[in-house]
Amino acid sequence: MAQAAIELIGINKSFGAVRANRDINLEIVRGTIHGIVGENGAGKSTLMSILYGFYQADSGEIRVGGQPASIKTPNDAIALGIGMVHQHFMLVDNFSVLENVILGAESDALLKKSIAKARSELERLEREYGLEVDPDAIIEELPVGLQQRVEILKALYRGAEILILDEPTGVLTPAEADHLFRILKQLKEQGKTVVLITHKLREIMAITDTVSVMRQGTMVATRETKKTTVEELAELMVGRRVLLRVEKGEAEAGGVKLAVKNLTVKDSRGVTMVDDVSFDLRAGEIVGIAGVAGNGQSELLEAISGIRHAVSGSVMLDGRPIDLTGKADPGELRDRGLAHVPEDRHHVGLVLAFEENENSILGYHDDPRYLKGPLLNIEAIRNDAKDKITKYDIRPADCRLKTANFSGGNQQKIVLAREMEQDPGVLIVGQPTRGVDVGAIEFIHKRLIAMRDQGKAVLVVSVELDEIRSLSDRILVMFAGRIVGERGPEATEGELGLLMAGVEQREAAE
C-alpha cells in the first residue's frame, strides 16, 4: 500500500486580511511526483512555505511519514528530509557554488574541510543526476538555469527525501526543463518524493503522477494525471474556459524601426556573449529570439536598450544610432519611443519597496501628465495606475499596495502595463510571461499582438519556445552569442530545438 510522505490536514494561513490558504487538505504519496497547479496568488507557494517552516500555519496539522510533525523553522523541515527550491533563488550572488551549497550545512567549523567534503559530494551528485556545474563558479556569473541547479544541489546535499520545487521551469529552456524532468524522474526512481508547484499545465501532464489544483486559497480538486486533461485543469484553475493559443492574423511588416548591425558584446570577464549579430526589426511585426538561457539573449537585450556596453557594431533606432557605450540615457531612449521590459523585473524593472502606482510611472515620472509644476501630480498618477490595474487586471486592485506584496505574475503585469501604455514605437520584451499564470499569459499575448497590429515593432526574447512560436512572425535562434538561424512561425519545435542546441542547419535538414 502506498504510504503518504506528507499529509496536510486543515491548513489555514492569513496575511492580514488576505486568506492565502483556507482549510487545505492534501496527501502526497511517497515516491511520486505530485503537481500543485493554480494561478498566481492561489496560495501554492504559501502552502509550501508552511511545509518548509518558512511560515507557520494559523491552524492545521502536518504529518511527515505518518508522524505528526512540528515544523517551526526551515531547520526542522531540513531535519525531516524536506528540501525546497524557491522560485526566487535563495543564493548569495557573490559566493561560489560550493560556498552556497555548504551554507548552513557546513560539516566543520573550518571551511577548508567543509568545502573539501562538499566538493567530492557534489561530484557524486553531479554524476548521479547529471547536475553539472562548476563548483568554483561565482553565482552571479552563472545563467539562471545553472543557478537553479545549484539550488537543487543544495537540497540534495542536505539529504532531502522530499523535494519541493516552486515554479522551477519559469526560468528554463525546453531543453533545460527536460533535463530537470529527467533529474526529477531519477529522484523518484530512488524513492524520493517530488512536489512540483507550477502553473504550466504541459509540465504537469508530462511528469506528474497526481495533480492538485488550487484556486484563491482553496484546494479545488486532486486528480490522477493520467485521468485528466489540460483543458480540465485549466478550467479548474481559472474557473472559466481559457484559450491556450492566441489567434493572430498575418503580419503587415512596414519600414525598419530598429536595425542591429554587427553587434558584439562582452561580459565583465571579457567573454564574448553576443558575437557579430545583425538583424532588422520592422514596424508591424513581432520578432522572437529563441535560445537556451545564457546564449547571449540577455546581453543582446541589454545592449539594445542602452544599459550594456557593446564592443562594436551599431544599433539604429528610426535611422538614428543608439549610444552603445553603456552610458546611454534610458530616458532619452524612451523619448525616442523605445520601451524596454527587462527580463529581471525584481532587480531592473521595479522598485519593490514602492507603492504600485509609483512603479507604474517609474521612468516616465517627468512626463507632464504626471506633473503639477515641479511636483508630482499624485492624483493623476493614482488615477493612471487605477486605469492600468483595470485594463491589465492587476490583482489585488490596490494602487497603494507595496509592490513587493504583489505576486510575480502581477508584478510582471505592472511592468508591462507601464511600458505598453506609453505607446512606444519599439517594444523590447524579455521573458514576457515568466512566472505568469495561464489566464494572464493569454492576456499578455493578446496585448503584444494588438501592439503589432497597430504597427509597432516588437522584439520578444523568451526561453519559452511555445511562446516564441505562438507570438513571432519571424524567429531568430541564438546559440553561443550568434544568430544561427531564422525561421517562420511554422517551424517545428524539433527544428528550433536543434538550432538552439547548436546543431548546424544542414545537419538538421538531413
Binding site: 504559501t46 531547520n75 535563495m90 548569495v92 550572488d93 557573490n94 548552513g104 567549523a109 573550518l110
Partner: protein
C-alpha cells in the same frame, strides 16, 4: 640621519594613532559585513574608554579595566542589536542614539563618581597598559637604520597595539576561513538565503555585533588606558566616524582596512608633526589647517579615489520575511 629619525618618529606615532582607528574599523567590519550598519562605533568606543579607565582606577588593574571596557561596549552593541535586529528599527537612528547616550552618560557618571569634571582619576602605572620592550632592543639601538626601526617602530608598544594588528589576519581568517565567517558574510548579502538554509538571521547578526562590541571596547580601552592616562570627555573625537570612512575606503576587507587606518593615522601624525613647523615655500601653516588635513583628505579620498565601493548588499536593511 636627522630626516631618517624624523621619519621613524612620524611612523611610530602613525602606528600609535592608527590603533584605535584600526580596532574600530575592524569592529565595524564585523557588523557591516553581517548587514548591520553601525554608526555607533564612536559611542561604543567612548563608553569603552570610560568603563575601562573607571574600572582600572577603582580596582587598580589594567586587565579588569579592559574587561569592563569590553563588557560595557558589548552591552551597547546589544542595545543597537535589540533596536535594529529584533525590532527592525532604523540602524542609523539607533547608532546616532547610542552616540548621544555615550557622550552624555560618560560625563554624567564620571562627574558623579569621581567629581573631576567628567574625567576619571589619572591612572597609576599598574592601572594602565605599559609599553613592552622587546628583547635585544638595547643591543641593536645604535645599529643604523635597523636599530631605530626595531627599537622605535616594532618594540615599545603596549600589548593592545600588537593585539590590534594581530586582529587583522585573525579577522581575515574568521571571515574567509571559518563557518561563522561564511554565514556572517552571507547574512550581509542575502539574509533570505541564510534563513532558508535553516540558520537564524537574528542570532547570527547578534553574534556579529558582539564581535563589534568587543573590538570597540578594546579600542576605547586603548584610548583611555594607553594613549591617555585616564578618561577625558569626548575623547574619541570623531575616531569612530573616521573608522567608518576607512571601512568604506577599505571596501570592507580586513587587510585593506589596516592600510586605510595606517594612512589616516599617518595623516594625523604628520599634522601633529608639522604643527608650527614652517614649510618650504609656503611658510608657517596655521595649526587649524594642519588639524583639518586628515579630514579634508578623507573627504577627497572618499569622493574620488576609491573607485566603486560595493557595500554588503543587505546592509542597513532589517530582515523581514517576504512573501
Amino acid at each position: 640621519m636627522d630626516i631618517f629619525t624624523a621619519i621613524v618618529q612620524i611612523l611610530d606615532s602613525t602606528i600609535r594613532l592608527s590603533v584605535p582607528l584600526l580596532l574600530a574599523c575592524l569592529a565595524g567590519l564585523y557588523s557591516e559585513r553581517a548587514g548591520v550598519f553601525d554608526i555607533g562605533l564612536e559611542g561604543k568606543m567612548l563608553v569603552g574608554a570610560f568603563a575601562g579607565a573607571a574600572a582600572a582606577s577603582v580596582f587598580h588593574s589594567a586587565f579588569l579595566g579592559l574587561g569592563m571596557a569590553i563588557l560595557i561596549s558589548v552591552v551597547f552593541a546589544l542595545i543597537h542589536g535589540f533596536a535594529s535586529i529584533t525590532h527592525r528599527g532604523n540602524q542609523i537612528v539607533s547608532g546616532v542614539a547610542i552616540n548621544f547616550i555615550a557622550a552624555g552618560s560618560t560625563i554624567m557618571l564620571g562627574q558623579h563618581w569621581f567629581q573631576q569634571g567628567g574625567r576619571t582619576p589619572a591612572l597609576a602605572p599598574g592601572e594602565r597598559f605599559e609599553a613592552i620592550t622587546w628583547p635585544g632592543v638595547d643591543a641593536v639601538r645604535d645599529v643604523p637604520i635597523i636599530g631605530p626601526i626595531y627599537s622605535e617602530l616594532i618594540s615599545g608598544h603596549s600589548i593592545l597595539v600588537y593585539i590590534a594588528f594581530l586582529m587583522v589576519p585573525f579577522t581575515w581568517w574568521v571571515l574567509f576561513r571559518t563557518r561563522f565567517g561564511l554565514r556572517l558574510r552571507a547574512v550581509g548579502e542575502n539574509p533570505a538565503a541564510v534563513d532558508t538554509a535553516g540558520i537564524s538571521v537574528a542570532w547570527l547578526r547578534y553574534r556579529a555585533l558582539i564581535c563589534t562590541g568587543i573590538l570597540t571596547g578594546v579600542a576605547g580601552a586603548y584610548l583611555s588606558m594607553v594613549q591617555n592616562g585616564g578618561f577625558v570627555k569626548d575623547m574619541t573625537a570623531g575616531k569612530g566616524y573616521i573608522a567608518l570612512a576607512a571601512l568604506i575606503f577599505a571596501k570592507w576587507k580586513p587587510v585593506n582596512a589596516m592600510f586605510a587606518c595606517l594612512l589616516f593615522g599617518f595623516l594625523d601624525a604628520l599634522s601633529i608633526r608639522l604643527q608650527g613647523t614652517p614649510l618650504p615655500l609656503i611658510g608657517k601653516v596655521p595649526v587649524q589647517f594642519m588639524q583639518a588635513l586628515p579630514y579634508v583628505l578623507t573627504v577627497i579620498l572618499l569622493a574620488g579615489f576609491i573607485g566603486k565601493a560595493i557595500p554588503p548588499r543587505a546592509g542597513g536593511v532589517p530582515y523581514v520575511k517576504e512573501r
